[in-house]
Symmetry: D3
């Protein structure tokens, strides 16, 4: 039984995040979308809003659950009993960050491995930062959000 955590802030959950979950479900028996909560960081949507939104997107699939967590990702992984961390990677800059994160997490929790999924070309430029920027300015971000999303 393999279980992946897909950690992120998901403010908001984008088409790119949706694609990663779909592809990760071909690799793992179950997947937890793990919303990292950092009280010092101002977000556009509350944790509750984000959790409800992601849950509704995957309401049809019992393999997907959503949990919010505070603190270190490795501590969450230990408590949740996950076997893998999964992350999408869009660019070399993303990769440099993910490599360091994966290596640090492995140094702290060797039994959990990190799997990286390369972004599809059509989503490689989509980021939550850009979507938030569009939404804050009253723009139309529908093309960057899964159907039924904010």
């Amino acid at each position: 039984m393999s279980t992946a955590a897909f950690p992120g802030t998901f403010d908001p959950f984008s088409v790119g995040h949706y694609d990663i979950v779909q592809r990760a479900l071909l690799l793992f028996d179950s997947l937890i979308v793990a919303i990292g909560v950092n009280v010092e960081k101002k977000t556009l949507y509350t944790v509750g809003e984000r959790k409800a939104n992601i849950e509704s997107l995957f309401a049809h699939d019992p393999r997907v659950s959503v949990q919010a967590y505070e603190g270190l990702t490795v501590d969450f992984c230990r408590k949740a009993g996950v076997t893998h961390i999964v992350r999408g990677v869009r660019s070399s800059a993303d990769f440099a960050f993910e490599l360091a994160a994966a290596q640090t997490n492995k140094a702290m929790l060797p039994e959990v491995d990190t799997v990286l999924l390369p972004a599809l070309p059509e989503w490689a430029h989509v980021s939550s930062t850009i979507i938030r920027d569009i939404l804050k300015n009253g723009g139309n971000a529908a093309q960057f959000l899964p159907t039924g999303n904010f």
Copy 2:
């Protein structure tokens, strides 16, 4: 039933490659080490030598098989019925190459997805090119090769 292809030249198969196979076996039911043969490219070891070497390294694990192939990786994947391609990534430069390869392969064979595993820090600088260079010059490359390797 998921089956991964781990394509590469493996001239020779390094500790880094060995680590990728071990970690990929936590994700897939079986794995084919797929030795890409390019007749125009001069190699240090023959295909037969490389195949025999990798087979002996995984003789204890029936989930691992070794196959040589000519032509496109996607054609090999189609014939071999694999569900995923798995590759290790050591650096941003590696990643740029792997991202383009993954996106091209997906454009040609959408049903096969690519999974990237970030290299462990201790192997991030190990490459077959460097090992070949050491071996050609009579150096000792033992620390970069799985036990029992060339």
Copy 3:
């Protein structure tokens, strides 16, 4: 009739920015230096100071105008009727950001294209961040500013 927007914060406008405007004027009939205003971001110079400064630098050239804008760059471009966005690029890190921005902007406003001009070697290390840091600490940043600038 082609019109480019050169968007940025320009806090302050550097020799590198000046070079980009000069080179862009060989490509476009007119150019708007578009000062992006983000009320949440603390700046060293007010929008008015920056606008007056850039206007004085190009007072001799009627093809150059300066406008401040709030909100999305694509919304500004639509209203201003520009045909292109022009940006300077100094490094691979810059490029990664500009590529994502260009692709997002094109997804939202397909009729406006982005043109990138590679920085001259002598300005490749100059950034407004560094200049601000020098000015805040009472240093001499004259070599990084167009003649007549702050």
Copy 4:
């Protein structure tokens, strides 16, 4: 009157190259697709084949011409009287190469400037190397080639 040279090997001319020409025509009065000939480099198509192919793709547009050249790009630019070099950029790795090339060309021929166009997301992974590899192995590369191409 501005004239751009779009230098490359174009072995073969891809959908990505086609897109660059289309977008460059919004910036320049005319454009020369400049096929760099390196007799030491083995190509899949002859210079004649490539020239005829690109000419047929733009037969409808008198602003586009095709020329083959040997030697330095700056020497070609000087003789052809071009004002700009235009190149597409797909990734940070591409950019690093293009930045050095642009800076060297400017050091040798200051009156010609280089303009970079960021690749569209859907073509960012397409390269002539990959297309050649597909064609050599009898694969179907139609989706990476302009309609009517090889």
Copy 5:
């Protein structure tokens, strides 16, 4: 007599920083660990705590001293009479930042040169940011800190 400044925030001083000092001492007669103080930036440890900690780590070596400074690094270097700035580099992203910093510093203070030491593989993923994150969340960061550190 050569003297290096090793500038940084050191919040906290990591095994990676410790390694850089040890290796720099093979190049320079003496070394100043220069704690950059930015009153706008919230730190986990006070300047006094960081200074005392680093001093105790090198109490055995009279060649190493520790100084806090405000303002520009080049101003500190000028006053302290250093001949070189030394910095560790872990990744391409680090390098891009260090290259721009080195070039700017040289433009402002030509007589001081910058020397970069590549991180050892085992420390390449260690950053003060990650250590702070672990410590803030009550995790065990001992493996990332020199013996006797916080």
Copy 6:
């Protein structure tokens, strides 16, 4: 007594290489320009030509010597009794290569450390490959070569 090896192909020795030697002489008591000879690689200048050229450039400075070597750089370093390897770095792409080389060399010869010097902005785009290309095509590469060079 510290001795650095500055290994490279130096086909030909550029202004950038010259700058690295000058700056390295502030760090080391003596420096060996170590011309790596790879009989499989075709060069523009013979080893003898390159050795004579570099020797004449530093004829005035007894601290600089020139040696050609075949085989691994670490083997040369061991035999020559050097304490450090010094290399110039122009870009993130360069750095990725140098980081892997430095880490591999340290794994094979722990007592020799690698020092990287960031290229000056004015030489950051100069490479021997580009210079050779200019020279082969009858161009004027004088601005990229130390005075008195080829």
